[in-house]
């Protein structure tokens, strides 16, 4: 790789050999093509993203977008500046897939974002008012014919309203209702002809103008007429209105009021009942405090954390032990059909874990499951705490050992056999040689994998959710089961298991707490394994 500074700065014609960037330099036609396509994509994405930002007047986001596009163009169109060319893709992906999700999670953890609190207060007010619109009593159920003044594609939209009881026709515009002149009405209450320069639209023309029609509101004495689709119209009136003076919603008919409570993001009446539509507010540390206020969690927290650690550690070391045993057995040249056995062992790893977990769940069924039937047992596997724990761990072993088998097979083959031979020459027994030579060397190679496997299993949501679903649940705690991990408990606590009622803010706070635990364990483990490095 050459760098610009080494180029001889002679007074020759412009140097034909420009510094070569990896594939993005224009030195070869292919690279040039790649550059054109890449930058074209950047331009396309920018153009695609700009209009919505313009429409919503998000000037800051727009400026960011344009600046980053300009920066990318600047960097890749310069013949020099090699380091940024390598760094930019990585940085972009780092920001997009690491930093933004982390920032989003942390900021969500301080809000009440969730079902009922997804949007803004303005959206909530609009929804409350729209939801309170009731048909005006005694008003006709109008049939609608859509028409325009002048050109069908561009002229202002009007509603031709037919009262089905009398077949009288009125013209509805933004100004109000006027009687129609010389209107002809068909048997299915459609206006077929009318005077006054109106063009009656057919269904195709009307649907093309649907968005304009949606914006037309015809004011009346009691309320307003809105279209209901393309063929009917309703006279309605909002019964609940927002009053900025008291920052409350008032129901006209009953005088009931719901006052905005900015701390919880709801409109609340005097009795403490809230309207359904809420909005997102900052709740400070409430989400962080909730796990510690929950009485179930306080009582069972230690037990759950111990089980969570046990689950992860037994999963990792159990699968490691099984995988290692198999690897050692199949590491000998004396075994016939070595390849066949290896393929057989790796099979569980090749099957989708998702489906396998469900199959295992059914195999553990007390009355109809394969396991009880095969061994003539009558164990209620997911009904007794200890049996359920054993069952989920058994499933983990079956799913996890092929991975450990693969890893340890590779590591074993990398350990020079003369080391073990030297140990046996020195008089070490086979077990002693394994314990003092092979195993430490194996740990050097596999420790990082074991730690990452621990972190994965600590949060192995699928393994629990798809088998025991956290159960069995002690009668006194329907929210925390015997096989619940922190992550599956969080899922339930944050309301994801029912239909609706999800609390993303709480879930974000809990997931950060779990991250802190896993990070602490991983840091300590990595420190410890650093000692293993001395073996080499």
């Amino acid at each position: 790789m050459s760098s610009p500074t080494v180029q001889p700065t002679t007074a020759k014609a412009p140097a034909p050999s420009r510094p070569r960037g990896l594939g993005l330099s224009s030195s070869t036609p292919l690279a040039l093509f790649g550059k054109v396509v890449g930058l074209g994509l950047v331009a396309a994405v920018t153009v695609w993203m700009a209009p919505p930002l313009l429409a919503t007047r998000s000037w800051l986001m727009l400026a960011l977008l344009l600046l980053s596009a300009a920066a990318i163009f600047f960097i890749y169109l310069q013949p020099w500046k090699i380091p940024p060319k390598y760094l930019v893709p990585g940085v972009v992906f780092l920001i997009a897939f690491q930093i933004i999700p982390v920032v989003f999670t942390v900021s969500t953890a301080f809000t009440n974002f969730g079902d009922g609190h997804r949007g803004t207060k303005e959206e909530a007010i609009a929804a409350i008012q729209a939801g309170s619109v009731q048909p005006v009593a005694g008003a006709p159920e109008y049939y609608l014919t859509v028409a325009t003044q002048g050109d069908p594609a561009t002229g202002p939209i009007v509603m031709l309203l037919v009262d089905p009881a009398t077949k009288t026709v009125q013209v509805g515009t933004a100004e109000g209702l006027q009687p129609a002149e010389n209107a002809q009405v068909s048997d299915n209450f459609k206006v077929t002809a009318i005077d006054g320069g109106y063009t009656i639209l057919n269904l195709g023309q009307a649907s093309a103008r649907a968005a304009d029609l949606a914006q037309l509101t015809v004011p009346t004495a009691q309320g307003a007429i809105k279209n209901n689709g393309l063929s009917r119209a309703v006279e309605g009136k909002a019964t609940r209105l927002y009053d900025a003076a008291c920052d409350c919603i008032r129901e006209a008919a009953t005088g009931a009021t719901w006052t905005a409570d900015g701390t919880i993001g709801y409109f609340v009446d005097a009795a403490g009942n809230n309207l359904d539509q809420g909005w997102q507010v900052n709740v400070g540390l409430a989400n962080w405090a909730k796990p510690f206020q929950d009485s179930t969690l306080r009582t069972h927290f230690v037990g759950m954390v111990v089980w969570n650690f046990a689950f992860a550690l037994i999963s990792v070391f159990g699968t490691f032990a099984v995988g290692l045993l198999m690897a050692m057995a199949l590491n000998s040249d004396k075994v016939r059909g070595l390849r066949f056995y290896r393929v057989l062992i790796v099979l569980p790893y090749a099957m989708p874990a998702f489906a396998m977990l469900l199959v295992w769940r059914d195999m553990f069924n007390q009355d109809f499951g394969l396991i009880n039937n095969l061994f003539h047992l009558n164990v209620n596997w997911f009904g007794e705490p200890t049996a359920a724990k054993i069952a989920v761990l058994l499933v983990q072993f079956w799913l996890g050992y092929p991975y450990m088998f693969l890893v340890t097979t590779g590591a074993l083959q990398a350990i020079p056999s003369d080391l073990v031979e030297a140990a046996s020459v020195d008089g070490a027994s086979r077990f002693f040689a394994f314990r003092t030579v092979t195993l430490p060397l194996l740990f050097v190679a596999t420790a990082p994998l074991l730690i990452s496997s621990f972190a994965f299993n600590f949060n192995n949501f699928n393994a629990i959710r798809l088998t025991s679903d956290g159960g069995p649940f002690p009668p006194d705690s329907p929210s925390l089961g015997a096989t619940d991990l922190l992550i599956s408990y969080t899922y339930r606590l944050a309301g994801f298991s029912g239909g609706g009622g999800a609390q993303y803010g709480l879930a974000a706070a809990m997931s950060i707490l779990i991250f802190l635990i896993v990070a602490a364990v991983s840091i300590v483990s990595f420190r410890r394994t650093a000692a293993l490095e001395d073996i080499n």
Binding site: T56, A126, A210, R232, Q366, F382
Partner: protein, 430 residues
């Protein structure tokens, strides 16, 4: 993006509200609502032309397939394009999330008990139905929420007792009869299970509902006159519910011959019945296809109640519903489709032909029921069914109450288990 959506929303609703209050111009509401409308209009006009003429419908896999013919007809009649998208997993939540992100469809098809959650997330708009009398009153009640109609029902469903007539020729008059017949068959080694009622390890509130109400149990205080449930007034640990669950425990796993078992769940109840291992199945219209395929002679009757001190064994009534998305891009076409097209008899008959569920329109049901006697049997069996509560609090019932019921079937103490479920439910509802 959100502001653009907000603008559309504001126009749909604030325009009405602003105009509504203009005659009495002194109310402050008019002055606040009006500026919102005017400031929103320039942005709302921008995308109008580009999306007109396309209607996007989201439904689950089965429904999406069933909708095809109906949607094609609507598309041809109105010269528009109809896009049906199947969302196979977690449609409700996907829809709410998409609404919030500005990618909502125009119409979503789902169960009526979604309404509470969809309303609290401002995801759906009310609809104006013109001919309400044409619908089954229960279907209308199910889609009415807080005094407002939020969707158009197209089918109704409830569970019932499905009986293998080879094994049990006569319909049991009481639960006691059912259990006695089941025990007799089991003693004669004709079946291995007495009743295939899904319980599962973590409970199944929906299928347990008839047995619970047969003993007088309930979740919330229910006002039959207004059809409203009061989530602040929990009855899950009331003396009546405790008594009802005691009766369930008595036929649970600790009984000499268990009738209810946690090993029978939603995933194996129907297959156990079609395998001839039980004579009685508690399930809904979705089970009949498998039963017919297994060539089992069956009959559908009401779930009976206890011989002594029994209340009606009410199951939940569900209405399949078309919703108009509040943040869809083409509200007018969506309204036209949902309120003026789904409410047509021929549309509901076509939907029935695509998937055999009782239509919500009485006239449509009358047209199809002659050819399919199961429909009327299911409806007769569900005459005491109560519309599943659509309030957001109901979403929080399933999990803790289901687990409590499973624990009771497994033999746990009824009173303390229900009290714990009540505590958990109170904490969840807040």
């Amino acid at each position: 993006m959100r502001i653009r959506l907000l603008a559309g929303l504001a126009l749909g609703s604030l325009a009405l509200t602003a105009c509504a209050s203009t005659p009495t111009a002194t109310t402050p509401a008019a002055s606040t609502a009006a500026p919102a409308t005017t400031s929103a209009s320039p942005t709302a006009q921008a995308p109008a032309g580009s999306v007109a003429g396309t209607l996007t419908i989201w439904a689950d896999d089965k429904r999406a397939a069933a909708l095809k013919t109906v949607a094609d007809k609507f598309a041809a009649e109105n010269s528009v394009k109809v896009n049906i998208q199947a969302v196979s997993q977690d449609l409700q939540n996907t829809f709410v999330t998409a609404s919030q992100a500005g990618n909502a469809p125009d119409i979503v098809v789902g169960a009526h008990d979604w309404i509470g959650n969809l309303v609290q997330n401002s995801a759906i708009s009310p609809v104006s139905l013109t001919d309400k009398a044409a619908f089954d009153p229960k279907a209308l009640a199910a889609t009415t929420y807080d005094g407002q109609t939020y969707g158009v029902p197209y089918m109704r469903e409830n569970i019932a007792l499905i009986r293998n007539t080879d094994l049990a020729p006569t319909a049991p008059a009481t639960l006691d009869d059912l259990i006695a017949k089941g025990k007799e068959l089991k003693a004669a080694n004709k079946v291995s299970e007495i009743l295939c009622l899904p319980v599962g390890q973590n409970g199944d509130v929906y299928h347990m509902m008839p047995l619970m109400s047969a003993g007088g149990g309930s979740f919330f205080a229910y006002d039959a006159a207004t059809g409203k449930f009061d989530p602040k007034n929990l009855t899950i640990a009331s003396p009546k519910t405790i008594a009802a669950m005691e009766k369930i425990k008595a036929i649970g796993e600790t009984a000499a011959t268990p009738v209810l078992k946690r090993s029978i769940g939603n995933d194996n109840a129907i297959s156990t019945f079609t395998g001839g291992k039980c004579a009685f199945l508690v399930s809904g219209p979705w089970a009949t296809a498998d039963i017919k395929k297994a060539n089992i002679k069956y009959d559908i009757t009401a779930i009976p109640t206890w011989k002594e001190g029994g209340f009606p064994a009410s199951q939940f009534y569900g209405a399949g519903t078309f919703y108009v998305a509040a943040k869809g891009k083409n509200a007018t076409l969506a309204q036209e489709f949902v309120t003026n097209y789904v409410s047509k008899v021929e549309t509901q008959v076509a939907l029935y032909n695509a998937e055999a569920r009782p239509p919500a329109l009485t006239a449509a049901l009358d047209q199809v029921k002659a050819a399919d006697p199961d429909l009327q049997k299911f409806l007769d069996a569900g005459k005491d069914a109560i519309p599943m509560p659509a309030i957001p609090a109901m979403g929080k019932v399933w999990d803790p109450v289901g687990k409590a019921q499973a624990a009771i079937v497994g033999g746990a103490d009824v009173t303390s288990t229900l009290k714990s479920a009540e505590t958990a439910l109170k904490a969840a509802i807040g």
